[in-house]
């Protein structure tokens, strides 16, 4: 773990320095976490709520952080789990099928709020939103966020091989989607 993060964690666990350290943590990681969440749940308002939930969870649980992974990994794991749980809740409350979640996300995307991309970007999103959950997640993290497989493997607690396979399948489906249009 890099020294900066170690110092930040140490300050977060120190009652006297906790608030200042937390403000620094939020400032350092808010944007990256937001975009990660946003690509999973699509809606800005939902992403905003979930981002707040993530930081509140971090505030409450920093004492339990064992530091066996990096701070970045831990934060991203919380953000991913919060986002996926949110979609699971949506699925349960609205009796979505697995495909139904994709329909919900496509509908949310097509409502157009807070999207300023061009036609090609829109088409890519629509193709990505049709992917199964795991492939969508892996594609977002690899293609948009340019994460290394090793980093993704730590966050998602899965093997590099499985991630490479997921990404490969996701890309193939998206290419087929473009060719079929």
């Amino acid at each position: 773990m890099i020294d900066k993060d170690k110092e930040l964690i140490s300050d977060l666990k120190n009652e006297g320095k906790r608030e200042m350290a937390f403000q620094l943590l939020v400032k350092t990681y808010q944007q990256r976490l937001y975009w990660h969440i946003r690509k999973i749940v699509v809606s800005h308002d939902d992403a905003d709520d979930l981002l707040q939930n993530v930081f509140i969870k971090v505030w409450k649980n920093i004492g339990n952080f064992r530091e066996d992974s990096s701070l970045f990994t831990w934060l991203f794991r919380i953000a991913t789990n919060e986002s996926l749980s949110f979609l699971q809740q949506k699925k349960r409350r609205n009796i979505f099928s697995i495909d139904g979640v994709s329909d919900y996300l496509v509908e949310t995307f097509e409502s157009g709020a807070h999207f300023e991309g061009e036609e090609l970007q829109k088409r890519l999103h629509l193709a990505v939103l049709q992917l199964p959950e795991k492939q969508r997640l892996v594609f977002n993290m690899k293609y948009y966020e340019e994460m290394k497989y090793e980093q993704m493997a730590e966050i998602l607690k899965t093997s590099v091989g499985a991630l490479k396979a997921s990404y490969h399948h996701a890309v193939k489906k998206i290419e087929a989607h473009f060719e079929g249009e």
Binding site: Q23, V26, K27, Q30, Q31, Y34, W35, R38, K39, H44, D48, L51, Q52, F55, I56, W59, H114, F115, E116, G117, E118, L120, Q121, K122, L124, H125, Y143, Y144, K164, A165, Y167, H168, V171, I174, E175, F178
Partner: protein, 153 residues
Amino acid sequence: MKDNSEHIEKEPRFPRMESGYSVPEGYFETFGERLKLRMEVESQDKPSKSMLVYLRPALGLAAGLAIFLTLYLHPFDSQKQSDLVGMQDTGDLSAIDQTDSMVSTYTSLVSDVSFFSALSEMDEYDASKISKDGLAEYLVSNCSDFEILNANK
């Protein structure tokens, strides 16, 4: 032998591009403040841990009392059910009164429309249409010899 991981690592055939997602103006600049405000509000709304420690046993007691009173004032009435069962098993006739009252309750609930329509169906029935053979067949099937012999007595 070809290394299959090579084509797995190949870049997509579509170009690399940004997501195109945007945020409201000033979103990230004000996020920290909004988060702080929410955390302050939530910490005020939540009852303190020490209060919960005292409240929990009282709530448990109240719940137990509510259940007890419900059962005491409105006991589950298994008497009728067991009486019916008793009638079947032991010929206990004391339950018949209750079943009669249940039947009369039921018939009173049958709508007048259905009752009178049934009556009108009976009125339309013409006894002359029954053949002697048909009647004989009915009697043999549905009545005992004793009933037939004593029918006119």
